[in-house]
């Protein structure tokens, strides 16, 4: 929130910032609640089912009931588990998931932290969640959980590299790691000024790698229900399980917002004559489309095999991402400079 950032920092200002961040936390929790509801509805419709429709009108309170059930459920920790790490893992998964949201800008004036290393901050922190997944899998002292955790590590190291390299093209075009400046660099009035068309290769690599980093279908091998029961969180119950779930959906929020910012022009309107609509509306429309897209591919694609996953990451995505970087750099060298 800019007005407070420009004043000198006092305890009073810090308290106001804290309250704004707490309000934002409630918004994110509301998003997660209805993203889960919406996901179940959308997948239901795509499979010619109705989806949740019992709790509350149209089933709108289904997720609220689920959360309440998890809250009053008995919390079992296996006797053989490493208690400290077992308790620590869900918290460690959730903290970076929420912390990365601090740098995302929503409109010209609506943002929390305006870091000039915003993108690097996002990439660095989002890697920590994988550590929590490996930790949870190891601490459970369960074979399924260990396999799930190990798969997660393998997947993360294979897809982190293409994900990070695919956005280098965007950085080249805007000359900044600051997410607000990246959006401002896409200003041109029309939608073909947004990064997704000039950076089409980077965009495709980014989307595939992002879905993989989210551990969502078709890359949900760490929790593959049909082979590993539930993967790394098989021993978790009650609210500890809820925090793994929560961090997964907070990352859906984060990735959808980041894709909007990096490739879809943030708060810019798609055409000059549409600029009378406030920027936040455009941001939310693009954001909602990405979220829907993630649910859509979950309903459409089968889960891929682990060796296919690794081969795709190293043999296709990584060379494509590197090629994109140098094509962009050569284009800038030849035509812009």
């Amino acid at each position: 929130m800019p007005p407070w950032l420009n004043e000198s920092l006092t305890w009073g200002n810090a308290l106001i910032l804290f309250l704004w961040a707490a309000v934002f936390l409630l918004i994110v929790l509301g998003f997660v609640t209805y993203a889960i509801y919406f996901e179940r509805k959308v997948i239901g419709w795509m499979q010619l089912r109705i989806g949740p429709n019992r709790v509350g009108p149209l089933g709108l309170l289904q997720t609220v009931a689920d959360i309440f059930k998890l809250l009053i459920k008995e919390d079992t920790i296996p006797r053989k588990a490493d208690r400290l790490l077992f308790v620590l893992a869900p918290v460690l998964a959730y903290v970076p998931a929420f912390s990365v949201l601090a740098v995302l800008p929503y409109t010209q004036k609506l943002y929390f932290a305006d870091l000039n290393v915003g993108l690097l901050y996002y990439v660095a922190l989002s890697g920590i969640t994988t550590l929590a997944i490996v930790l949870g899998g190891w601490a459970s002292n369960n074979k399924y959980a260990l396999l799930g955790g190990m798969r997660s590590a393998a997947q993360m190291i294979s897809y982190e590299v293409p994900l990070v390299i695919s956005v280098v093209g965007v950085i080249l075009l805007s000359g900044s790691l600051n997410l607000r400046e990246i959006v401002m660099a896409q200003d041109g009035g029309w939608f073909w000024n947004w990064n997704f068309l000039p950076q089409i290769v980077g965009f495709v690599v980014f989307i595939i790698a992002a879905v993989s980093e989210l551990n969502r279908t078709p890359f949900d091998l760490p929790e593959a229900e049909s082979e590993l029961v539930a993967g790394y969180h098989v021993e978790y119950s009650g609210f500890r399980f809820a925090f793994f779930m929560l961090s997964e959906y907070v990352y859906v929020y984060a990735i959808a917002a980041l894709t909007t910012v990096l490739f879809l022009g943030g708060w810019h309107a798609p055409a000059p004559f549409l600029e009378f609509v406030p920027g936040i509306v455009w941001f939310l429309l693009k954001f909602a489309f990405i979220v829907f897209f993630l649910f859509w591919i979950r309903a459409t694609f089968p889960r891929i095999r682990v060796d296919q996953l690794m081969a795709l990451g190293w043999k296709v995505l990584l060379p494509a991402a590197l090629l994109n970087v140098f094509l962009t750099a050569a284009y800038l060298e030849l035509f812009i400079k």
């Binding site: 936390l25 929420f98 002292n141 393998a154 990070v164 609210f239 970087v325």
Partner: protein, 123 residues
């Protein structure tokens, strides 16, 4: 950017809130949820069978070579980011410099590919 530290205060507030929510929720949950541990409840889950042996077994992790390659390419990204930010201010020289650097790593990737490191049943 005269008051840049303020932005990091926001980051600290977000991290604090991120820690606060799980602590508060799990503490509140402790008051609400029942706790009746029994012996069968606390055994390790293994599809309803008696668990066999240890859970933390050592097995052939097929991807330790991937991990080595990850370290190399992750370092490359560390160099790519500042290069990309400053690219428009630098000359043609840095373009070829990065091309040579990435090219050498790419040769490494091709070598690993040829050596069948990227195949599942190679080791």
């Amino acid at each position: 950017m005269e008051n840049y530290a303020g932005n990091y205060v926001v980051v600290v507030i977000f991290i604090l809130l991120g820690i606060l929510l799980p602590v508060a929720a799990l503490t509140a949950g402790r008051l609400l949820r029942p706790s009746k541990p029994t012996d069968p409840k606390q055994t390790t889950y293994e599809s309803g069978n008696e668990p066999v042996g240890e859970g933390q077994v050592r097995f052939n992790v097929r991807y330790y070579l991937f991990a080595l390659m990850f370290v190399i390419f992750d370092v490359e990204t560390v160099f790519l980011y500042p290069w990309a930010v400053a690219y428009n201010k630098l000359g043609l020289f840095v373009f070829f410099e990065m091309l040579i650097f990435a090219g050498m790593l790419l040769i490494g990737l091709l070598y690993a590919w040829k050596k069948k490191v990227l195949k599942w049943n190679s080791v």
